[in-house]
């Protein structure tokens, strides 16, 4: 893994909320295929340092996914696909079955990194299905590389489509509550929930964003606030404890969040803390919209069989390496939660707005 620090001081101190933003958004790609290497923004270093890392081995990409150098369901879908492409690219296989064997082995490793976001499995399956069309090793390698490049481009186009559809739901002057980071940094670019906000701003609407810091990994404070400040979009950071209060005093007009997996019965799995936002929004009559590309829908299962990842206690008891709790205290650290369809006003997808009953809309629009 090589590390390259990007100079960004010029943009760094751009103050949010001082100007009406124009359509000049965060254009860096979170993950990209570059000359047989995978290039990523190192999200663990944000917001203090914007740097890129380069990977040449699938194991490095697997590790980057596990340690959240790259995170966000759509981004890890593309990253995993590119990890698999590295496997093909590096393979010394002389014959197709050997190449497939190498790739299957890497696919297994990549699949084991994180259990909840379905895009991870979608990305891997898509590359594996493509490579099976090849007749020769050379053709296979070309097909795989072309496929991951296409996935990278499609991701941004998908989010722009999704953003435009979602922006219709946002009114001029709205304050939108989000959760975690479902922005450019959670995708190749543009973002899902934040893509909706960017598209609304591109339509000339004034939008304010309320950003919960999203403990334990602080993606709201570290990533969403960073992205929005870079783009000059008005945002206010709050503790996760303040979500209910802010909704109850009328400071939230809409909730727009991302998703890691949406099952065929309309249940939305997303970053821990999403469920309580949905419950509070519902209590106060605030519309609640998950935003997700078609690759986030899991048509193969209902909500009962989804695994919610439990992550390390260290994420909770240490912040920036400093201990904030007594040694040895037991910790529960579920990384995701589940929002039932009755709390969902609609799901914003690149194929249209899915309205209740969600199970039926999912069948109609996504299948």
């Amino acid at each position: 893994m090589k590390l390259k620090v990007v100079s960004w001081e010029r943009k760094r101190f751009r103050s949010p909320s001082l100007e009406r933003p124009v359509a000049n958004f965060f254009t860096m790609r979170t993950v990209t295929w570059e000359d047989g290497k995978v290039k990523m923004i190192d999200q663990t270093a944000l917001p203090l340092k914007l740097s890129h890392v380069f990977f040449t081995k699938p194991e490095e990409v697997a590790n980057a996914i596990r340690t959240m150098v790259v995170r966000g369901a759509p981004a890890i879908g593309v990253a995993a696909a590119m990890g698999l492409a590295l496997s093909a690219h590096r393979s010394k296989a002389a014959k197709l079955p050997e190449l497939l064997h190498d790739m299957e082995s890497s696919a297994g490793l990549l699949r084991s990194t994180r259990p909840t976001a379905v895009n991870l499995f979608w990305g891997i399956d898509r590359v594996m299905n493509k490579v099976r069309e090849a007749k020769t090793v050379r053709e296979a390698k070309e097909l795989v590389e072309a496929e991951v490049k296409a996935m990278e481009e499609e991701d941004v186009q998908t989010n722009r489509r999704l953003g435009k559809i979602g922006a219709e739901l946002i009114d001029d002057g709205d304050t939108v509550l989000t959760q975690c980071n479902a922005g450019a940094l959670a995708t190749v670019g543009y973002g899902t929930a934040l893509g909706v906000i960017r598209a609304a701003v591109e339509q000339g609407k004034l939008v304010k964003v309320l950003v919960p810091e999203t403990r334990p990994a602080l993606q709201g404070a570290r990533l969403t606030a960073f992205e929005l400040a870079q783009d000059g979009i008005d945002c206010t950071l709050i503790s996760d404890t303040a979500v209910g209060h802010m909704i109850s005093i009328g400071r939230v007009d809409k909730v727009v969040v991302g998703a890691d997996r949406i099952t065929n019965d309309g249940y939305v799995f997303n970053k821990i803390g999403t469920y309580q936002e949905a419950v509070l929004a519902s209590r106060h009559g605030v519309p609640f919209f998950p935003a997700a590309p078609h690759s986030t829908f899991d048509l193969s299962r209902g909500h009962d069989s989804v695994t919610i990842e439990e992550r390390s206690a260290d994420e909770v008891v240490k912040i920036s390496g400093k201990r904030i709790a007594p040694k040895g205290v037991p910790v529960a650290n579920p990384a995701f939660d589940m929002t039932p369809p009755e709390l969902v006003t609609g799901i914003i997808s690149d194929r249209g707005l899915l309205q209740p009953p969600l199970a039926e809309s999912i069948q109609r629009l996504i299948s």
Copy 2:
């Protein structure tokens, strides 16, 4: 201010949840009157260091309240009273009106430290009412000192009474969700919400406590987890984002929290994040009990005129002195929120369990 580090290594690594606790609880006093000085545990240093600070001037006590060296509604009520006693103790006044003038001036300073917890004003008023009974300067100083010593003792006795009343609501095997720290460290000793848990444990019940870290000031992670670990009471720390998920999967049997002010119409003001716990508990049929001594009830007003303190943005954007968000990002940091009576199953007080309709119970039991 003098600082004294207490040796506590012997107790420090006592592991939680390994043994059934006996009635051998955290006996240190959070705030105490000692030979004309106010002695406090420095709560900003916990859980990494258990140390005491000594104050001789009312301004030092005011600063300690403002900076949360001491926090928790009952504790700051007693601390403010003792700050006022320092004013009397140090006064060079030869005549009673001069002494009263000195004390009124200190009272004004102490009243300005934090706006939400009503115990602060209760503690100050109680001392000012007492001093007005005196006929001489000497008698005044004696009355004041006796009064704050009595308040210190009463606080612990009040919490023990409250704890016993609340413990009746806790079943053997219950998991109790709390918020912030309403423990020994939020009072002179024993605690309110954690007093209920201690009393239940004293009754021989096995109780587990689910502790949200309670951002921004992390009183759950720093103080509640520390207290419970010291006492060997089984606790599990979670991020504030995990509250809804844990309730929804059936991991919570009761919610017991403290309170900073309860108005005559039954609204409960408490640490930010309490309201969302109440909403989630209600949705899932989990009983929700604030626990508070009679000094936390504000009979003079309804909920409309209570000020919710807005604290520094630094509490949100820096943790242990390290920045976790981009520079310049706007922050909202309300320190408290309001839970309406319809979400409250009952209020545990030292004068009995207040049941709905709360406005009537408050009139009957507290007035």
